[in-house]
Amino acid sequence: MSTIYILCVEDEPEVLDVVVRDLAALEDVFPIEMAVSAEEARQIIKEIEENGDKIGLAICDHVMPGDKGVELMIEMQNEPFTERTRKVLLTGQAGLDATIEAVNHARLNRYIAKPWDPENLMKVAIDELTTYVIEAEKNLLPFMSSLDARRLQEAIRARGSISDY
């Protein structure tokens, strides 16, 4: 089975560490990849694709040197490989225009304002990853204990994908 990654993009290493720490409980099932710029993120996305793995969730800062977060997200939305990836903007300084663009062109799924509540970040990550695996994965059982089990069970019921043998 291919691995599903969480991608975190944030230019300040200290902030990046906090994000990763807040999501540490998910790391056993969804390894976290870190990038300090859009440039590095593209490199990581390429490597993950070449490995035959997937990206389930991208958490991205907006204001960064070089390309901005929203630009990266629009790019990801337009690439078949990352189209289904759930996209979360984690930022303190995105203006209205950038946010509107992210919603319209990157199909932004969530917007989290800095500073964030760690519990809320975890909840958002679980929610988004649950949606991702329901949309993208055939076998939901491996994610039951780390994601929203109730929604996953509901999806199994509605899909009827597991039959009695």
């Binding site: 109730r150 199994i156 019921r157 597991i162 039959s163 009695d164």
Partner: protein, 545 residues
């Protein structure tokens, strides 16, 4: 980037499975087994390849079923290349040499048997006594022969002992009454899920069980069992888990009540599947094997046999879990809001559901076979557009193929004499019948813990039935009781997460460890086997006679 873990490569099992299957298929082509017809050899090959593939799963189990049917229509049908143009070689008896003594070619005699030629493709064995043999001819004594009688001149001919069936017999298994019965059940279940009948019923039925944790568990188990008797065990488990998970989240992670919560649902779903013919696929194998022997088991009769067993086992499981995992939690909130859909389509669905179930359980009263009644939901749910094209596509068709392949293999095992040949190597009549049932039931239970329940039933039930029909098992061997008991034993296997899909679903929540499942599931399997045996001996004969 995370390094890929070095694991035992996935393809080893596939390669081993494929090789074993291929070897199994070849053995009967190169080795001759005495007493087994040519077609029996072919069927043995098909049986061995199917068994290896079903056990090791180098290909999906439903694909193996399709392979089985393919091999049967090619190798065993009248229209297939092997039997297409062949006819039995004939020898006509001349005038008697002495009183009741006839001269026949050596090649026509097989021990003390001779085959009468009934037609180009059918023959019948008769007993003879060999008087003497000389110069390629044998003199035999028999009262059943007369001048001009046509006998088969070569006992090793491929048509001896086997009358080839038309390929339509094998294809027809997919439309056999039991498959249609399941299709009807699948469509009812799909409609119930589409309109949330299963959820709403659950919420209504759980209300009377109050607020005490262990009573709520009892309620969960009973409702799970009732639903899984008519829906798939797996879908029922997933649905009930959506009720159980919010409870588990309110409870301290160390509280053993979480274990009970996660174990009770798959156990009840596995057990509930036994309650009706459509509850779970192994039941279909049992019923079709009996049909083949001309025994019709009515829907209501099955329920009468199985329901008391299910109830006792549910209570036993409940008591066991209470004993091993005494809960400390005293209360929690249980959200039970039911909102039955009231759209015209939903109401049609409720009516069709109720009427179908009513007609099924009263089969003995009105005499309309359940397979015929099953066409009522198939027709009504599609005519009324309750189920649309997309819903029909989503039905578990592969389960129907799996069962059809099993039924088809059973047909050939029976009519090529393979099943009798396989069981006749052991003299079973030295064992009392109850021991025989126990041994068979235990084998079924053990195999089924590791294999698919349906596959276990497919492999074992034709053997059990042929023990009864051939008289190998001695006098008074009841086909119905033995077949049903083995079917039940297959459904009672819930030792491991891999034993049944409901077990796998429960395990995935992380609330239980494999050891918990092995403990409770193992005890239930063993108790269940003995309780079923007691019922089979004491209660079933009263219902069936």
């Amino acid at each position: 980037m995370r390094k890929k873990e070095k694991r035992f490569p996935d393809w080893t099992k596939t390669v081993v499975g494929l090789c074993l299957g291929l070897i199994g298929f070849m053995i009967p082509l190169f080795v001759h087994f005495d007493g087994l017809s040519f077609a029996g050899h072919l069927t043995l090959g098909i049986f061995l390849v199917a068994a290896s593939f079903w056990m090791l799963e180098p290909i999906p189990i439903y694909a193996t079923s399709m392979l089985v049917i393919f091999l049967q229509i090619v190798l065993l049908s009248t229209q297939g290349p092997l039997f297409q143009d062949s006819s039995l070689p004939e020898f006509q008896l001349e005038a008697a040499a002495q009183e009741q003594v006839w001269q026949v070619p050596d090649s026509a005699v097989d021990g003390n048997q001779l085959w009468l030629r009934k037609g180009a493709r059918s023959s019948e064995a008769i007993q003879i006594e060999v008087v003497e043999s000389e110069a390629g001819f044998t003199f035999v004594r028999s009262g059943e022969l007369s001048e001009g009688t046509a006998i088969v001149s070569d006992v090793n001919h491929k048509l001896v002992g086997y009358t080839p069936a038309s390929y339509t017999l094998f294809l027809g298994t997919l439309a056999s009454p039991i498959i249609i019965l399941f299709l009807g059940g699948f469509m009812l279940a799909a409609a119930a899920v589409k309109y949330n009948l299963d959820k709403n019923l659950t919420n209504v039925l759980l209300k009377p069980f109050g607020q005490k944790p262990m009573f709520i568990i009892l309620g969960l188990m009973l409702v799970t069992a009732v639903l899984s008797a008519f829906m798939s065990n797996t879908a029922t488990t997933a649905m009930m888990m959506t009720v159980a998970i919010p409870i588990a989240l309110q409870i301290d992670t160390k509280d053993k009540f979480r274990i009970i919560l996660a174990l009770s649902i798959p156990i009840a779903a596995n057990l509930g599947g036994m309650a009706t013919p459509i509850g779970t696929p192994p039941n279909a194998i049992v019923i079709s094997a009996l049909n083949q022997q001309g025994i019709q088991l009515a829907f209501g009769t099955w329920m009468l046999i199985a329901t008391p067993l299910v109830i006792v086992m549910l209570l036993a499981a409940w008591g066991l879990m209470r004993f091993f995992y005494p809960p400390t939690v005293t209360s929690f909130k249980l959200q039970l809001d039911s909102a039955f859909e009231k759209s015209p389509k939903a109401i049609i669905m409720y009516a069709v559901f109720a009427l179908t179930v009513l007609l099924w359980v009263t089969e003995a009263q009105h005499g309309i076979p359940s397979g015929m009644v099953a066409f009522l939901p198939i027709m009504a749910l599609t005519v009324s557009s309750v189920l649309e094209k997309e819903d029909i596509r989503k039905l578990p068709w592969e389960v129907l193929w799996l069962v059809a392949g099993g039924i088809s293999l059973g047909l050939s095992m029976e009519n090529t004499g393979l099943a009798v040949w396989l069981v006749s190597s052991i003299s079973w009549d030295v064992l009392p019948q109850i021991m025989l049932l126990l041994v068979f039931g235990f084998v079924a239970l053990m195999l089924s813990n590791f294999l698919s329940n349906t596959v276990t039933a497919t492999l074992l039930i034709p053997l059990a039935v042929s023990m009864g029909t051939s008289g190998i098992a001695g006098e008074g061997f009841s086909l119905v009781i033995s077949a049903v008991l083995i079917g039940m034993a297959c459904n009672m296997a819930m030792l491991l997460p891999i034993s049944t899909p409901p077990n796998a679903i429960a395990m995935s929540t992380g609330y239980i460890k494999t050891a918990d499942m092995v403990k409770i599931g193992g005890i239930i399997g063993i108790i269940g086997l003995f309780v079923a045996l007691a019922y089979a001996v004491l209660f079933w004969p009263a219902v069936l006679l």
